[in-house]
Amino acid sequence: MSSLNARLLISVSVLLLFFFGVTIVVLDTAFRSAGEQSREDVLDGHLMALLAAAEPTDQGELAMPADLHDPRLSSIGSGLYAEIRNSAGVVRWSSKSALGHELPFGATAQEGSRLFQKESLSDATPLLTLSLSVQWEFPDGELKPFVFRVAESLDSFNAQVAKFRQQLFGWFAAVALVMLLAISTLLRRMLRPLRQIETEIGAIEEGKRQSLSGQYPTELQGVARNMNLLIDSERARSDRYKATLDNLAHSLKTPLAAMRALLNQGLPKKFSGRFDEQIERMDEIVRYQLRKPATLATKNLVLTQVSVAKEVDRLVDGLRKVYHDKDPVIETAIDDGIQFRGDKGDFLELAGNLLDNACKWCASRVRITIRQALSETGDKSGLVLSVADDGPGIPADAAEALLQRGTRLDESTPGHGIGLAVVKDIAHSYGGQLSIQTSDLGGAEITVTISPATT
């Protein structure tokens, strides 16, 4: 469960379910008990009416008039039943409606008190019964016990309850749905700034943005500000790192150059040659160590989009000047709008070293091709850069050796020298690969493949 949105929605749904469940149970219980209470009152009314209608006969029995207070008692199977039993439990009278039905005769109420019971007819119709034991005083002064009993079918009541429940569930489900929709819309709105931060950080990592925008709610402004501070300090650190290397290079190499210029003045040739060798060694160490890729571990925050075509044009213009006398034909084939996601200096180092080597070794032709590398997901930040020439080429075993070797200084091949080692280092630092083939121009073709970022 990684998304805040999903977490909140699930928690809210569980809470809603619990709250609505409890509410439904409470309402249902209240509705039922209120309904039962009113049923009991109605039954009590019927019982009272029956008591009032009963007339003692001379035979010591109770007689009921043909017309009773509720016509349902006279209609067969109406759902309202009544009977009178004597003390032995024998039915002395029963309403017409009970014709064909044997009313269940459960526990008898204590004399003078009412007893409500839930029972069922022989055909399983649920009933609510009310029985009352009375001592009937006959005109001759004799007291005879009778049990009056009224029963009403609960079918209609149960149907009412079921209907109520149905409505209850229906409404609550609708309300819950509306609430969830409202909450998820609300969440989306509330989480929009977070999503914006996410998008903007993505853009920074792709080099499309320099910093987070300031348009955030108060709670997030601190985060955004600190994020920007972090990015700025990383940029500053990266710049400082480059500046330090530059200064170091300058302050080490100028004295070395001065030493060289001084060498031939007054020293015998055999000494100056040896000194020169040492200067050469120091220079190589300095050059190699100081030309490490410019980007650091936190490079994602400081990358920019480098316009490949523009930088290659500058390089080619520069190299045309440098190789003015040789005047090689330099062809460029670069995909439209292609961008290198990284440090501009790193890109110039990759393309510059490869082009310089090609110009150095070619007979007359050099070709640089840069294509977009597409990943399976369609991310377009990778590229394939290859530089071909029509020079002597690099024999397969030498190429193998060049690629296999570590980048230790003393192992770099003369001629391709540090340049290729630097290209390899930079390619690796961008997760790329270097390969050497024979080009269709006849010479070497060196290809750097930088796959789309996997971070």
């Binding site: 070395l256 150059a257 060289r260 210029a261 003045q265 500058r314 213009d317 000047k321 200096g345």
Partner: protein, 228 residues
């Protein structure tokens, strides 16, 4: 040829200047960017050697400013930062070539010669015009495949004229560009040297390599390229 060396490190600047002077160049030195730009804009310069890491004003700014002001002499940059970003910036700003520190002085001299030759429109390191051939790297002048013995000043004059073959060069320009210090030298000296050169290169007056244009100066008159 008058060169300008802009480099803040005194030892390097002075020893480089010395080597260049030994190679026959007149050398101006500047120790910081502002002074360098002043020399570049105000002095008669044939080529400038500019260090990119300078105090006061960066090498790049000097190059841009000089180019903006219409100076088209070749510029060679010295850079300690062996990064393509810096080289490309320099070349983009208007420099013509670069040398990475620590360089061999011979390397610088070779690049300087190549740039000077290029600035005169020569693409090969051997400049050939009719029977005359000049090899700048050896400071060797041949006429009909025979080396001619020249004094260093005679060589400087024929080199200057030949690089700019076809152009009219005034006596003043020659004095300015070829004497190391004193611009005020008598321009009659130039006439004397031209006379000697003619005698050495063309004793029987048959090829007439140097033409005198009265009141305007001299011109190396032979067509570029070997004889048909």
């Amino acid at each position: 040829m008058r060169l300008l060396v802009i480099e803040d490190d005194a030892t390097l600047r002075e020893s480089l200047a010395e080597r260049l002077a030994e190679a026959g160049f007149a050398v101006e030195q500047a120790a910081d960017g502002k002074e360098g730009l002043y020399f570049a804009l105000e002095y008669p310069i044939d080529l400038a050697i500019v260090d990119l890491g300078l105090p006061g004003m960066s090498g790049l700014d000097i190059i841009r400013e000089a180019r903006q002001q219409g100076k088209d002499f070749p510029i060679l940059i010295l850079t300690a930062r062996d990064r393509w970003e810096d080289k490309v910036d320099g070349l983009d700003a208007g420099a013509d070539d670069y040398v990475v520190k620590p360089f061999q002085p011979e390397e610088v001299i070779a690049r300087v010669n190549a740039l000077l030759r290029r600035s005169g429109g020569w693409s090969s390191s051997l400049m050939t015009a009719g029977p005359v051939t000049l090899d700048m790297s050896r400071q060797d002048l041949k006429v009909r495949d025979e080396s001619i013995e020249l004094t260093s000043f005679e060589y400087k004059i024929i080199e200057y004229l030949m690089i700019r073959a076809g152009q009219v060069i005034s006596k003043t320009e020659l004095t300015e560009r070829l004497y190391d210090q004193d611009f005020e030298r008598d321009s009659n000296v130039i006439e004397v040297f031209i006379g000697r050169l003619r005698k050495k290169m063309d004793p029987d007056n048959s090829i007439k390599p140097i033409e005198t244009l009265r009141g305007r100066g001299y011109r190396f008159a032979l067509d570029r390229g070997p004889d048909a």
